[in-house]
Amino acid sequence: MTVQGFSLPEQPSNVAIAASGLSRRFGRRWALADVSFRIPRGHAALVAGRNGSGKSTLFRLLSTAISPTTGTATIEGQDVTAETEEVRRRVAFLSHQANTYESLTALQNLEVFARHLGTDTGRDRLLDFLDEVSLAERAHDPISTFSAGMRKRLSIARLFLQDASVVMLDEPYAQLDPPGFKLIDRLFRKMRDRGTTVLLSTHLLERGAAMCDDGLLLREGRLVWTGPAAALPGEGAMEIAGIPEEVN
């Protein structure tokens, strides 16, 4: 059922993300099984599939949070297992987890992150970033007082710090309010303008499909369909994904 890559570029240097036979086993279960695809530089790809279909595992593998059991993946030619540090330099990952320190303030969280990045970002600049995600007023409040949506906004602010050429957004809309949706859309447009490669997963298929070039469909850990993102919300793709029509 494996579907080989789509929109194959002529030169490998044009490939931003390439996976080949990528698989990850968690004990008795293969969370991701034999996934192969390529995404050209500057493209945006939408990853769809039901809960537990392997979307997050794919994102975590590509961002080096976990390592593959078998198979390989490269980010701009750098192997995720062998050249982890190079990959981490290139990739920014917005995960399900907030990855924040509860006892620190929003600003301090950003400062910790910036220092580990090795960038000398001034406090004013960090406050600008917080302003962009509408957290400027709460910059000096500890995260423990934040709601889930506000934590998400802080994670988004962290993306600004990383000058990444590949950005992975795993369910970015989850927990956000309508202004938050607009924030993500704005961020998305900005990244597209800059030529950033984006990998997006969301259950809001119509919204995602409108923003992306390519579509990937996962079912039970396998890549079952690839094609233009615009075709993803179609009935055929949903049938392949195992999503009943009435749910969609």
Binding site: V3, S23, G27, D34, S67, T69, T70, G234, E235, G236
Partner: protein, 250 residues
Amino acid sequence: MKGSALASRPSVPGTSRVPAAFLIAGAALLLAGSWLGLFVAPPEHYMGDVQRIMYVHVPTAWNAMLALTWSFVCALMFLWRSDWKWDARMESAIEIGVLLSLLLCIQGSVWAKPTWGVWWDWDPRLTTMAVLVFAYFGVLTLRRFVDDPVRRATWSAAATIVASADVPIVYYSVRWWNSLHQLQSSPATVSRSFYLPLRMNAFGILFVMIGLMMLRTRLAKLHLRSELAPPLISSHPVSDSEPRLPGGAR
């Protein structure tokens, strides 16, 4: 951190007679050696019959150290080769090493009571063994509390290496701490009539240990197989005509 070597599952050999042969040979040697030690060898000049526990105590000590050293080797091999069989071997080595060390501590206190009038005498070797029992028991407990097989194997290998590095430090620190005990017993310092039963029991325990380890390793491999999904069937290239088209166009 490790790639394809852990993608497979450990292969489990069919039941074999080798472990049974080791167990039978070991038991026979132990029986014969103990009989020689208990009834044939002359009583020791100063300590009398109490000394006869040495025929089992000293071989147990050698083999306990051997088992724990083997577990250290298995831990290194697992991290180096990423092969499940070394995880299974490490598990069996630690379990049997802890068991032998525990037996050693019990024998030690049985010997200490008539000799010094106390159950425990803080002898460096015995105390080191007691510390090791707890240290390696900790590693076994760690294994119980980690569900993911890869994590469990990696962490327990790391913990085994960290614990192994402690063995000489514990030994010397306890020795400085309490410096009074008899010299190390080894065949060289023991007179000739004691030599044969000691050696026989050493090999007897060694063979029993090897037999048990083989059985336990097999069990560990079976357990791993049940915990791990079978390897994926390698990808078969799909022909160009096969990619399905979106929108129900197939």
